[in-house]
């Protein structure tokens, strides 16, 4: 069962800056929402395909966590990307083609890694997107992101989970980034769960405190996309930096099952915000278009 109350400060409103959405253009707001829709309806189509046994390999769904990549990808589109295992939203938001992801999940040669790698190991090296695939060793991407920044001097964004944050090599790598002032944007998608064990059973400390102690600016916020994008904008020019973002995983760690409703539904909250801004109609048609495109993508 997903615990009703997560660790410490977890909430749907933590750090949300009132009216911050107003500092974003309508187009920016809608683009973040569109990316959320792409991830969401891609994964919803995948759920059906798993139930129909058309996809038989393990899948790691981004459902519930879409806003993180959707927001950050609009702010740092040119950064090299190092993903974690739960990476569908990352891939799609940064501009990966949905059909190649689908084909990877089906094990086809037209997939992102020729069907050899699968859901938790998605890469993209097309156009301006440079996204390296994870291999399954949780947190491994963090030292690699740091090494890539060291080796290239180029900015990097690195996503990982609250479980990965506990790996010794993860904060050791962040310490190295602090020492060498490397341009790495560390983003923790904190769903409070490592498989199904909540943080309070695993540790007494906060990763945000640890990262701050390493000398890296670090904040805890909830997954409101405008708030995320705001912090990303603030931090993007003074890397390294760290965002710990509270999210709610909607489904199982691996697979399409669910243990009941999540603590909050960010997708619904974002739609509500857009409606308040008078964007109900435009966001509604964006959602419809995306849903239809994804239904077509997954059509048997």
């Amino acid at each position: 069962m997903i615990p009703a109350q997560g660790s410490g400060m977890r909430s749907a409103s933590l750090g949300v800056i009132p009216d911050i959405a107003l500092s974003f253009t309508t187009e920016h707001s809608l683009e973040m929402f569109r990316r959320m829709c792409v991830s969401r309806y891609f994964d919803l189509g995948l759920v059906e395909s798993v139930k129909d046994r058309r996809v038989t390999y393990p899948v790691y769904l981004s459902l519930g966590q879409e806003s993180v990549a959707a927001a950050i990808s609009t702010v740092v589109p040119g950064h090299m990307v190092f993903t974690q295992h739960r990476c569908h939203a990352t891939y799609l938001s940064f501009g990966g083609r949905p059909e190649k992801l689908r084909d990877e999940l089906l094990g086809l040669p037209t997939g992102t890694s020729g069907g050899r790698a699968g859901s938790n190991c998605i890469q993209c090296h097309e156009g301006r997107v440079t996204m390296f695939g994870h291999h399954g060793l949780i947190g491994e991407n963090v030292p690699q992101a740091v090494g890539a920044a060291l080796g290239s001097g180029r900015p990097v964004v690195c996503f990982f989970g609250d479980g990965a944050a506990e790996e010794d090599y993860v904060f050791a790598a962040m310490g190295f980034a602090a020492t060498h002032k490397l341009p790495v944007f560390f983003v923790c998608e904190d769903n409070n769960l490592s498989i199904l064990t909540p943080i309070e059973k695993r540790r007494s400390w906060s990763i945000t405190d640890v990262v701050r102690a390493l000398g890296i600016p670090a904040v805890d916020i909830t997954d409101d996309p405008w708030t995320i994008a705001h912090h990303a904008r603030e931090q993007a020019n003074s890397l390294p930096a760290f965002l710990n973002i509270y999210v709610c995983r909607k489904n199982w760690h691996v697979g399409v099952g669910s243990d009941g409703p999540p603590e909050w539904d960010r997708f619904a909250l974002v739609k509500e915000r857009l409606r308040e801004r008078g964007l109900a109609e435009r966001s509604g048609s964006l959602e419809d278009e995306t849903r239809q495109a994804m239904e077509k993508l997954w059509a048997p």
Partner: protein, 308 residues
């Protein structure tokens, strides 16, 4: 006889890479106290890693992903158990999975007689995993050769160095004789000992071939490797690592499969290496290698003893 040592060769090859190729060298405490036995040059592009063995290897892999062909220095091979995960699970797999390579040059330095976790030789573990090239150069020419190999491929490479080779200026040529009764395949620092053992045995009238093993993976059983074995009729692989499930057994098996001739394996006993004699469990020396050869020949044929 040249005057350039293996240590000089490593240092100057590295300098060239760092200065001219904009390569990168990463390691812990590499720029002090002898600069890793004189093998690290004083030049740009050297990164002192903090004591983060797992993250350090991951950082090297990240640098490899963006094309820097990093040299990752491991002062004692034993630490590879910590350094291993990013190398094994990422660097060695990324080409097969994603078609993207992560060529890291891993300088895994071995020693002997320095106690339980500073005397290990772990190259056998890395032969086990797909995706690596694994070698153990002991001479200046071999070092230059394996460096060229690294630069002309895109695989991560485990270079099993041994401190005993650092002062060496000599090349080690194969010794092959028509009347040899056994072929010895030594690996790493046992190569210096195998040559001495062959001299001792020759003086007793036992002629041995010595076929040096530089490449552990890919292990190519070509005419140079198999021919002397077929003609001599028996073989012995000698390694500086543990014998059980180690490089010596793996190579012996491959030779046997390729030729049909039984080949024995000799490495370290299945015991912890302690600091002081007699429990150091050191690498096979000339005396032990010669003893093993005598014993093999005695068991193989009763008349074999007559040679002794």
């Amino acid at each position: 006889m040249g005057s350039v040592t293996v240590a000089d060769t490593i240092r100057e090859t590295t300098r060239d890479h760092l200065e001219r190729n904009d390569g990168l060298l990463l390691g812990q405490s590499v720029t002090a106290v002898g600069w890793v036995n004189g093998t690290v040059p004083d030049c740009r592009n050297i990164i002192e890693l903090p004591m983060t063995d797992v993250a350090g290897a991951g950082i090297a892999v990240g640098a490899a992903l963006v094309g820097r062909r990093p040299i990752f220095v491991i002062r004692f091979q034993d630490f590879l158990v910590l350094n291993g995960s990013p190398l094994i699970y990422f660097a060695a797999k990324t080409k097969a999975l994603h078609g993207k390579s992560a060529p890291v040059f891993v300088r895994a330095i071995a020693s002997d007689g320095l106690g339980p976790v500073h005397s290990g030789v772990l190259h056998g573990i890395f032969m086990h995993f797909p995706g690596f090239r694994v070698c153990s150069p002991m001479t200046p020419w071999e070092y230059r050769r394996i460096w060229e190999d690294f630069m002309s491929h895109d695989d991560p490479m485990i270079v099993s160095e041994h401190r005993a080779s650092f002062p060496n200026t000599e090349e080690l040529e194969d010794r092959v004789a028509g009347d040899a009764v056994i072929t010895i395949y030594p690996v790493s620092a046992t190569r210096f000992e195998a040559v001495k053992a062959a001299d001792v045995l020759a003086a007793e009238g036992i002629r041995c071939n010595v076929v040096h093993v530089l490449w552990l993976k890919p292990l190519v059983i070509d005419e140079r490797m198999a021919g002397p074995l077929c003609r001599s009729g028996s073989g012995l692989v000698v390694d500086a690592g543990h014998e059980t499930a180690g490089a010596s057994q793996a190579i012996a098996y491959a030779l046997t499969r390729a030729t049909g001739i039984p080949v024995a394996a000799m490495g370290l006993a299945d015991e912890t290496k302690c600091l002081c004699p007699p429990l150091q469990n050191r690498i096979p020396d000339a005396g032990r290698i010669a003893g093993a050869v005598r014993e093999m020949l005695r068991c193989a044929s009763p008349e074999g003893l007559a040679h002794g």
